[in-house]
Amino acid sequence: MYQQAKHDRRLIMERDGHSDFDLPFLKELTDQDIAIPTGMRRTVLDLPSLPEREVVKHYVNLSQMNYGVDNGLYPLGSCTMKFNPKYADYLTSLPSVNCIHPWQAEETMQGALQIMHELELALCEISGMDAVTLQPAAGAHGEFTGMLLTKAYHLNHGEERDEVVIPDSAHGTNPASAAMAGYRVVEIPSSKDGRVDLEALKAAMSERTAAFMITNPNTLGIFEEDIQQIAKIVHTAGALLYYDGANLNAVMGRTTPGKMDFDIVHFNLHKTFATPHGGGGPGAGPVGVKERIEPFLPVPKIVLKDSKYSLDYDRPESIGKVRSFYGNFAVLVRAYAYIVRMGGNGLKAASDRAVLNSNYLKKQLMDVYPLPFRELRKHEFVVSAKLLKDQKGIRALDVAKRLLDYGYHAPTIYFPSLVEEALMIEPTETETKETLDEFAAVMKRIASEDPEVVRSAPHNTAVKKVDEVYAAKEAILSYRAFKRRGTDQKS
């Protein structure tokens, strides 16, 4: 059976040695060369000092105690953990990607600008939007940008709308981003079949409504079939329709947010476009908009004229900047390479297969893990462990932890909250039928295992069940804080 590696877990600060790092010029320096103003000079610098050998050992061994897509199935619903192709790693290792400075003159960065420009166009085509900014660093950052654009748009039309309507099934970043931009968030409940409740939507809309934020397919993996009516309701109220692109992987080449009449959309390149998630980031969250919102996009805009690319900062209606420079360029290069590799046909095939995999896997699991809503699903689906909980006292959390013992990452759990004991499963298109069959078999096996074994899982990971309550209570966030406390856990 699967067993994760376990290594010595001392902190790097708790190891002993002598650094063998070396620098040119250092030996020749005299104190005179380095005038540090009085009062500003540091007296204590309590960092470890280790030879590179120890550092490499430490982090190679740490890495073995971490699970990534490259280790196996990572069916984390809503996160689209597909395979990250290795040619993209290679490209970002080139100096022509990683060794260019953002303040270089335009004529020295034509390659970078070309790739960004073509990526913008490709994203326009994929989303059916008219213009794209690549600046936001992540999905939530894209949402925030979208909310700033919404604000600018309405202000430009002389309106100070101050509410954003969001379904209760939405990802937490949606309300948080809207709030950050100063909006009051109005949450509407989902209908009984897990979709937008048109009546509730209508009721929530008013002349205060700036936008309605949804994702389609929604977080249950259900396509909002009433999307045309929804768009109409929103637009009739004078609000904008915002598309959370986290679920774009379900529909490429089949429909577009543009076609569905969305006004603003963000992309998660680290989901749909196969860039690695890096244990939490970096990502990239470009934002696409319809023509009428284009003037408000962040500066600079990449302009192509006479086969020369340039950066246009002279955009008076722009919201300005949402971060430094032009976006997470190295991530953008990866995504662009992925799009070129896949092509229009390949992206459509990816979505088709993602939906097929999802529906196929759902079918295998349905008997044991009932679906709250018996619809055709798109690229992900939510099942419930409620039956298991009632019959054997096994909760969604327990199933998740037990899956780790079999060498799978767990699905997303307890989200969306409208499903009891939710397990949100997104296999993605890069998994084989064989993998899905094996995963389904394990899911079923878990349901029939000794509940005690399941509840006390995981057993095969580097550590056993982690005490999250203690962590929150103590809030020890650094070795410095830990030492200050003077006590330790057994380690």
């Binding site: 010029f25 244990g279 990971t461 056993k464």
Partner: protein, 469 residues
């Protein structure tokens, strides 16, 4: 080729740029897929999309057909080859992004599949590696900044500043936030977007035209009872180590003190926590992260332990497992968007975790002596270069008298943009013109130098400057 698309202009543009036939190549359905469809009682992939209303369907994408890996690499490398790189052109650009040396081992580690291809560590038991590496990152930053609480990253320094301002509001519910006039215009723009929701007021204070440090008088005149926070950078936009920062907490004890740093400089400079900083932010790109045309970066964010529950962003905490062994997990999540939703301390979800790991590995390889040495080399090299430039006719260098870290302002008789064009002819990527940031400094530019520049690189710059002057 694609019917019923509403945005013909765009489609047309795409077609033009890609310069390829659109190709909605017929998909080969594989045997595996036929089996799976059969299991679902379906006979075509199209049937999986019957829930998409006909009116919004499209028939494929108007993009070129897929290409083999060979072709992708050939094409992209050809495009990228149009960039000039700091790898083969001495580059004196700084102003937020620096060309530092990255030990090869850093790439070895951050390239490890298990780190690179993992998601945010939601399941701590199977993600201890990333969690511990991030805890170590937090620990390094805590030690450097002198503050106990550090988050596991924000997007970059400018968004960290935005988050810091809103955190100040959460700390004291006040709305005035003071920033230096001498600061990157990009940061100012980002900041104003971040405080828009709270309607905070951003007020600039000036700098001393002689030293380049902040103008304490001016600052005093602008601090009032509604002042939530004061932001100061050291080294600042001019590369000057701002000694005035030392006195701000004493002077203005009511306002939160936010200090912006270059983490490398903290190898020799006092930890801001030791002179009263409540929040320290900074750009972590210097710590083993490629310049990457400006992204991904690493927003450093640290604060006093007592404010930890007001802090934005993900944090990793130390705890133990059910057998009492040390373990790590994400913690204080009740501050975060996925729990607190619209009341969260920030919307940040995906952050720059892998860059934080890079910083951790980088600092581990340098070690105490290495970081200290690096800071010293940067100071010494900049000092030498600024003096030598100052000896050239037509250049006033350094333009400010304060102590510098690794960049400095030069007043030039030639306009900076023109000077850069001339330098480019010598295969040199020149300096950053300052006017965009501080409009009246339109004959000033910033030159940065680091351990990456050999003596030959310095000489090349000096020679070129002499020729163009």
């Amino acid at each position: 080729m694609i019917d019923g698309r509403s945005h013909d202009t765009q489609t047309h543009a795409a077609r033009k740029v890609f310069n390829h036939d659109s190709a909605v190549t017929k998909r080969v359905v594989m045997s595996q897929e036929i089996e799976m469809l059969a299991a679902l009682g379906l006979s075509s992939l199209d049937e999986l999309f019957v829930d998409v209303p006909k009116e919004v369907r499209i028939d494929g994408l108007n993009l070129p057909a897929g290409k083999s890996e060979i072709e992708v690499l050939r094409e992209l490398k050809a495009i990228l080859a149009k960039n000039l790189t700091a790898d083969d052109h001495p580059c004196f650009l700084g102003a937020g992004i620096y060309h530092h040396f990255i030990p090869a081992a850093v790439r070895t580690i951050v390239g490890r599949s298990e780190f690179l291809t993992s998601y945010t560590p939601y399941q701590p038991e199977i993600s201890q590696g990333m969690l511990q590496a991030l805890f170590e990152y937090q620990s390094y930053i805590a030690e450097l900044t002198g503050l106990d609480a550090v988050n596991s990253s924000t997007y970059d320094a400018s968004t960290a500043l935005g988050e810091a301002a809103t955190m100040c509001f959460r700390l004291n519910e006040k709305k005035r936030f003071l920033i230096p006039e001498a600061m990157s215009w990009e940061k100012k723009s980002v900041l104003s977007n971040y405080v828009l929701g709270l309607k905070m007021e951003i007020v600039e204070y000036g700098y001393d035209p002689i030293t380049g440090e902040l103008d304490l008088e001016d600052l005093r005149s602008k601090v009032d009872r509604d002042t939530s926070g004061i932001y100061v950078e050291t080294p600042n936009l001019f590369g000057v180590i701002d000694t005035q920062a030392l006195f701000l907490k004493q002077e203005f004890p009511e306002a939160a003190l936010v200090v912006g740093v270059d983490p490398i400089s903290l190898g020799v400079l006092k930890a801001p926590g030791d002179y009263g900083a409540d929040i320290v932010i900074g750009e972590g790109q210097s710590l083993g992260i490629d310049m990457n045309f400006g992204g991904p970066l690493l927003g450093i964010f640290a604060c006093r332990q007592e404010h930890v529950r007001k802090m934005p962003g993900r944090v990793i905490g130390m705890t133990h497992d059910s057998e009492g062994e040390r373990a790590f997990c994400m913690t204080l999540q009740t501050r975060e968007q996925h729990i607190r939703r619209s009341k969260a301390t920030s919307n940040i979800c995906t952050n720059e975790a892998l860059m934080a790991v890079a910083a951790s590995v980088y600092l581990s390889i340098l070690g105490k002596e290495g970081l200290e040495g690096l800071a010293k080399v940067n100071i010494a090299r900049a000092r030498k270069l600024m003096d030598l430039i100052g000896e050239i006719e037509g250049f006033d260098s350094p333009a400010f008298e304060g102590s510098h870290f690794n960049e400095f302002v030069v007043r030039t008789s030639t306009r900076p943009e023109k000077l850069n064009r001339l330098l480019l002819k010598h295969s040199i990527l020149g300096g950053v013109p300052l006017a965009a940031h501080v409009p009246r400094l339109d004959h000033h530019m910033l030159f940065a130098t680091t351990e990456m520049h050999s003596d030959a690189d310095h000489e090349a710059l000096l020679k070129a400057l002499k020729e163009v002057a």
